[in-house]
């Protein structure tokens, strides 16, 4: 980097700076979306479908509309603009268009004086439904040709043969992001036919684009604002309540607020794709991969959402971080009558990783080679071609190093003892220590950073020097991940000024920063902030003829020559940047090309204690070595690692949205959709491998998804190690351990 500050900045890059929203969040003073209020606001409530598929034969909102305190009721017919939304293909009706396509689909929304009245009115709407046979099986959807996208990979010689072959089917259940903060929003009419909207978003500009189309507004008539989110994990990449409350606000002329309860939240936001996968690995006697074939079907649910991009990830990371000269993949994402699937931490790489890593373990067993040694022999390194797309790795990629680093960490040697909290079954007192078997498993994951497939991926930022510091303006979204701290640290290090504040601009004030997803904001929003800050510093130095800048002002030869206040008066210095990462390409018809801008790798090791007779698992320890480029904030980075591990481990052993045969959801509550608690979360040791990349700020790489990706197969591998069971399905249920095949 060209940045050079004469003095050492406090709270810059590399320090565990305390996040500005941390204390307010802990003390309850932080304003989350559901804390928003406006004078005279109405409350919205949603009427949802209770079947997975059906035709609405009668929809009567008369009784609801006539109830005292009810101001408006909207249905599909009331949508003034394009009545379909969706960020890639607008195929999701803003409200049910006459055919119910999934359980929980929104049919009508009521605005009333208070939440209870709104809820009662929503219940009072008459919805007569003629039930139709739902499509709940992905193979059936494929037979019907209901495919959102087929991503083929054809690379190398289809006739190539290895000495050893392993083949297997794998299946993964549906995971929910389960963010603690459910969806909430506030829409305030501006009195001139437009509206200001605060909603659950990971990318306000793409929301804006969809919303103006659906609402029939001119772009300047809608401003989408950013406010406090209680987690996202992909669940806020697609619209939920935004269109509804904005429309109600426009129609009633009153501010409209909605706050989903957990059941609404489970119904409304996209899920992680359930998957069914078949794999065939062929290797030579030394364990070098000769050919990998895979057929993957992901359940896209009723509407497209981001499925097209998810399936590209599943296909292109189908082999994992390994070399293989001959690769043939058919990856499909299909339409069913399940709730729509979309983005979730890992974005398609998780499913591929589970199947591919399970295969690598089986291959190792077949060959009699240590599983880690097998991975090292095939490890993808810079200069190698990705097994699927053929893209040559040009950036640092320490695959072997993360594997060796995690393997070098000491194993926990302590026996579980008789403390029930350290035994499978926990407080349930199911398991005496002598019934416990320990297992150890490894898995390695790879993930692309930022957007792929030729997408024009950019982020804007503005850095403005003020009388007493600097402001960073951005529309990049803090979802709880700590981006705000990272942007402050980058700006501090680049400017030399410590007093930096991040201002989250609405869509009318600055251009897009892209989505807070795809592990991209440290590099993308951070990249824009870095360049804007560098430009602001250069401008300040040039204006004052100085050689250094700090919180006092511009210095020359150790003397202050102009204060920040004077600078601000003379300037003002305000530098805007639109930052783009190196270009990518769309795949050719064989899935080949430079689809991804960059990669990161991580290796996990899981240690579990299993009660094989009851099929209960306690995770003892999870360790990780991760390729992070350069650490911007060590504490936050470790926080992302621990949170990601909890999420990926949850999918391995307990988290599943269970569908009944009729396509409805059996467990849309936290009573039965089980998330790991603190008692389920093991200690985590993390090795941060720093090999600076070339385009991220200070060499940083995005890192927030990978901790979730390879932990799932690592935990399952550890359970297999303990039990000898094949365990082809995630989450692993007690009955799978007890009755499953060896």
């Amino acid at each position: 980097m060209s940045v050079e500050t004469r003095h050492r900045i406090r709270g810059g890059v590399g320090e565990s700076v305390t996040r500005p929203d941390g204390v307010p969040k802990v003390c309850g003073a932080f304003q989350y979306l559901d804390d928003l209020r406006a004078d005279g606001m109405l409350w919205a409530a949603t009427r949802r479908a209770t079947v997975a598929r059906g035709r609405i034969v009668a929809l009567d909102v008369g009784t609801a509309s006539a109830m005292p305190g009810v101001h408006d009721v909207i249905t599909f017919a009331d949508v003034p603009g394009r009545p379909y939304q969706g960020q890639i293909v607008p195929d999701q009706p803003v409200l049910c268009d006459g055919e119910i396509r999934h359980w929980g689909e929104a049919i009508a929304v009521v605005a009333a004086d208070d939440p209870e009245t709104a809820r009662l009115a929503a219940e009072a709407i008459t919805v007569d439904v003629e039930e139709l046979e739902p499509v709940v099986d992905v193979e059936r959807a494929l037979e019907l040709g209901d495919v959102f996208r087929h991503f083929p990979v054809r690379r190398g010689d289809p006739e190539a043969r290895g000495d050893v072959v392993v083949e297997g089917f794998y299946e993964m259940g549906t995971q929910d992001q389960a963010p603690l903060g459910t969806e909430a929003g506030l829409a305030v009419p501006d009195g001139h036919g437009g509206v200001d909207l605060w909603g659950p978003s990971q990318w306000t500009h793409v929301d804006h684009e969809q919303l103006v189309a659906c609402l029939g507004l001119r772009p300047e008539e809608l401003r989408v604002h950013i406010s406090g989110l209680g987690g996202a994990f992909g669940a806020r990449e697609d619209l939920t309540l935004q269109t509804h409350i904005a429309l109600l606000a426009l129609r009633t002329g009153r501010p409209v607020k909605q706050h989903y309860d957990r059941a609404d939240s489970f119904a409304a936001h996209v899920k992680r794709h359930a998957a069914r996968m078949w794999y065939r690995h062929e290797a030579d006697r030394d364990g070098r991969l000769v050919k990998v074939e895979a057929r993957m079907i992901l359940d896209g649910g009723a509407y497209q959402m981001t499925s097209q991009a998810v399936i590209a990830n599943a296909a292109t990371f189908a082999v994992g971080p390994y070399r293989c000269p001959n690769t043939f993949v058919d990856a499909y994402v299909v339409r069913t009558n399940h709730p729509p699937a979309g983005a979730m931490r890992g974005f398609g790489t998780n499913q591929a990783c589970f199947a591919a890593e399970s295969q690598m373990d089986r291959l190792a067993a077949e060959l009699g080679i240590d599983p880690l040694e097998l991975r090292l022999r095939n490890a993808l390194e810079p200069g190698d071609a990705l097994a699927t797309t053929g893209q040559v790795v040009t950036e640092p990629l320490p695959t072997s190093e993360v594997i060796r680093s995690v393997a070098a960490l000491p194993l926990p040697d302590d026996e579980p003892g008789d403390d029930p909290l350290r035994l499978p079954g926990g407080t349930g007192l199911t398991t005496p220590p002598d019934r416990v078997v320990r297992g150890v498993g490894y898995a390695v994951g790879i993930k692309n950073l930022a957007f792929s497939e030729g997408f024009d991926d950019y982020a804007e930022a503005r850095v403005t020097l003020t009388a007493d510091g600097a402001e960073v303006h951005t529309a990049a979204i803090e979802v709880g991940q700590g981006m705000v701290t990272v942007l402050i640290q980058i700006a501090r290090s680049a400017l030399g000024i410590e007093n930096v504040e991040v201002v989250f601009d609405d869509t009318s004030k600055i251009g897009s920063a892209g989505s807070s997803s795809a592990s991209r904001q440290t590099q993308m929003a951070g990249g824009a902030v870095l360049r804007a800050a560098e430009a602001a510093r250069s401008a300040a130095l040039a204006l004052a003829g100085g050689d250094d800048l700090d919180d006092l002002g511009v210095w020359r030869d150790g003397e202050l020559v102009m204060t920040l206040a004077e600078l601000a008066e003379r300037g003002p210095i305000s530098e805007w940047v639109r930052f783009r990462h190196p270009e990518t390409e769309e795949p050719d018809e064989n899935g080949q090309g430079r689809l991804h801008v960059d990669f990161s790798v991580a290796a996990h090791r899981a240690v579990v204690d299993v009660d094989p007779e009851l099929g209960l698992v306690r995770v003892v320890q999870i360790d990780i070595a991760q390729d992070v480029g350069r650490v911007i904030n060590p504490v936050q980075l470790r926080g992302q690692i621990e949170g990601g591990i909890a999420q990926g481990m949850g999918w391995a052993i307990m988290e599943e949205l269970v569908f009944r045969d009729d396509g409805t959801v059996a467990n849309p509550t936290f009573t039965d959709y089980l998330l790991p608690t603190i008692l389920d979360m093991p200690p985590v040791e993390a090795v941060l491998v720093e090999q600076p990349g070339t385009w991220g700020p200070f060499g940083a790489k995005g890192m927030a998804e990978l901790p979730t990706v390879s932990v799932t197969p690592a935990v399952v591998a550890a359970i297999r190690d303990a039990t000898g069971k094949a365990l082809r399905r995630v989450p692993v249920r007690p009955e799978d351990i007890v009755f499953g095949d060896g």
Partner: protein, 265 residues
């Protein structure tokens, strides 16, 4: 909605008699979930919060208003063990034994202990008192014989052996609805009672298994195998989103045997 907060038991019984379909409210940990999920919208709520009479607890009696947080300190080991598995600390601070009985979920954590102990549920109303053995009180999933004008005031506990064990199977280390729960009470000379939850429409006793276990002060591995087999044979589980009938049947035998083994040590 009408809300009544009687100051004494008599007032509470009057209130229950005065309204059509009154809903008693103690800790609210079941009721409020139902309300929040929109499954229930009570017209009249009778709060039991001020009724000290319901909080009495000694060796032979547990008042309906005793919270699970208090029961964690019980002298009966199985009672303390089960109390520890109920929800989270916040739930246990509010939830009461009476609520567990009133809701009568097949998965209710206290019921295996009460069934194994042959507890009697005591109901009061302005019309008088009814004393029902546990198996007369529970008639189906979330179904009891309590009339709307009756209040569960507590349970009578007959004398029971000190050797006790409770176990509950769930996929989380804590704060989980049971897939199977089990309580074993054993007299050192042999007599044994075993009750299981989440494996039938109501809590149930595995009487055939009890017979095997009760026959001797010392049990052989063959006896234990037979005990386990009979428990698995006697339970009546279903398959739902929490587990399969096949697993529950298997796990019931395993945990019952292990609970018995704990009593034998």
């Amino acid at each position: 909605m009408e809300y009544v907060r009687p100051k004494a038991l008599g007032e509470a019984l009057d209130a229950l008699a005065a309204f059509d379909d009154p809903t008693p409210l103690a800790g609210g940990t079941d009721l409020m979930v139902e309300v929040n999920l929109n499954h229930r919208r009570p017209d009249v709520v009778v709060s039991l919060r001020s009724l000290d009479e319901l909080r009495r607890w000694d060796d032979t009696w547990i008042g309906a208003g005793v919270t699970f947080a208090r029961l964690e300190g019980a002298d009966d080991p199985a009672l303390a063990q089960l109390a520890r598995t109920v929800g989270s600390p916040q739930i246990r601070a509010a939830a009461t034994l009476g609520g567990n009985l009133g809701t009568a979920s097949p998965a209710a954590d206290s019921l295996p202990f009460l069934a194994a102990a042959d507890a009697h549920v005591v109901l009061k109303s302005t019309a008088g008192e009814r004393r029902l053995r546990w198996d007369e009180f529970f008639v189906g999933p979330k179904q009891t014989v309590r009339r709307p004008d009756e209040l569960i005031v507590g349970v009578e506990l007959p004398s029971r052996p000190e050797r006790q064990a409770f176990a509950k199977v769930g996929v989380r280390q804590a704060m989980v609805i049971s897939m199977v729960s089990c309580c074993v009470l054993r007299d050192p000379s042999g007599p044994t009672r075993v009750a299981l939850g989440s494996v039938g429409p109501t809590v149930l006793r595995a009487t055939d298994a009890e017979e095997v276990a009760s026959q001797a002060a010392r049990l052989t591995d063959t006896d234990l195998d037979e005990f386990q087999r009979r428990v698995s044979a006697e339970v009546r589980p279903i398959t739902d989103h929490r587990s399969t009938a096949e697993y529950r049947r298997h796990a019931a035998g395993v945990v019952a045997r292990r609970a018995l083994e704990r009593c034998l040590r």
